[in-house]
Symmetry: none
Subunit: 136 residues, 2 copies
Amino acid sequence: MKKTILVFGMLILALLLLFQFSKYAIISGDLKVELIVAAIAIVFFFVGIYINKKSLSKTDTTVVNINEEKIKELDISNREYEVLQKIAEGLSNKEIAEQLFLSESTIKTHVSSLLVKLDAKRRTQAITKAKSFEIL
Amino acid sequence: MKKTILVFGMLILALLLLFQFSKYAIISGDLKVELIVAAIAIVFFFVGIYINKKSLSKTDTTVVNINEEKIKELDISNREYEVLQKIAEGLSNKEIAEQLFLSESTIKTHVSSLLVKLDAKRRTQAITKAKSFEIL
DNA sequence: TTTTAGCTCATACTAAAGTACCAAAGTTCT
DNA sequence: AGAACTTTGGTACTTTAGTATGAGCTAAAA
């Protein structure tokens, strides 16, 4: 936030300096008008690019939102979704079972139904499909 | 491509018009110098934003840029990286072998060395780790 | 109160995945 | 040509993953 204020302060300062400089240069006739105009144009062209890049990189992380409607559409239950998340974290059935205080059999059951619902043959494919559905 | 040429053509035209206009305005004294300078600044500021947006939307995938240095750092070979990509697509060893015209044994060898290099126990974990390293 | 749906767990089995170890071509660099 | 490395492939084995089927339990809906 402080950085933003600093950047804008510098910008305003540069703008004022350009004003003064252009006025002086035109009146004294040291430089051609075209040159000054071109310089201003180029400077603010890149300022625009810079500002735009800054604002874009901030809203960049907001792009990824979980599509909850799709989860319901695919008829994936709460428990199944939990398991799906653990799968995507790279855990084995055994590890998932331990983390959720369940037996490995139960995890296998959930995984199997997940594969059916996501129309996947493997857990890795389930991950990619889930991400394409914006579920993960 | 034709659109790009058109846009740039329009830009150059606008630039020339501004040149002429500013020269005329300053000489005739109809407008204040500050106003002209400000106008030019504002116009090119937005031009910069526009151009930047266009170029970004085209190279949109460049935002999630693959960290090639990390690949070298992890000592992952070309073939191994190819296999890693196929794993992330959710393919089985057999399917990867068919796509790359290799035997399943070879894929297993590559996968094993990938797991070691990525310090992963499973292929699913390899995917998540690779993504955290910005390799995928 | 049945019925339905979700969650749980088990057994038995098949199919992948992964490990360990070895070995032969092919490249690249010196 | 020899060294070092990548790529390829094999065998034999262990470990996960995944399927099929059945069943008990609970909570909510019909």
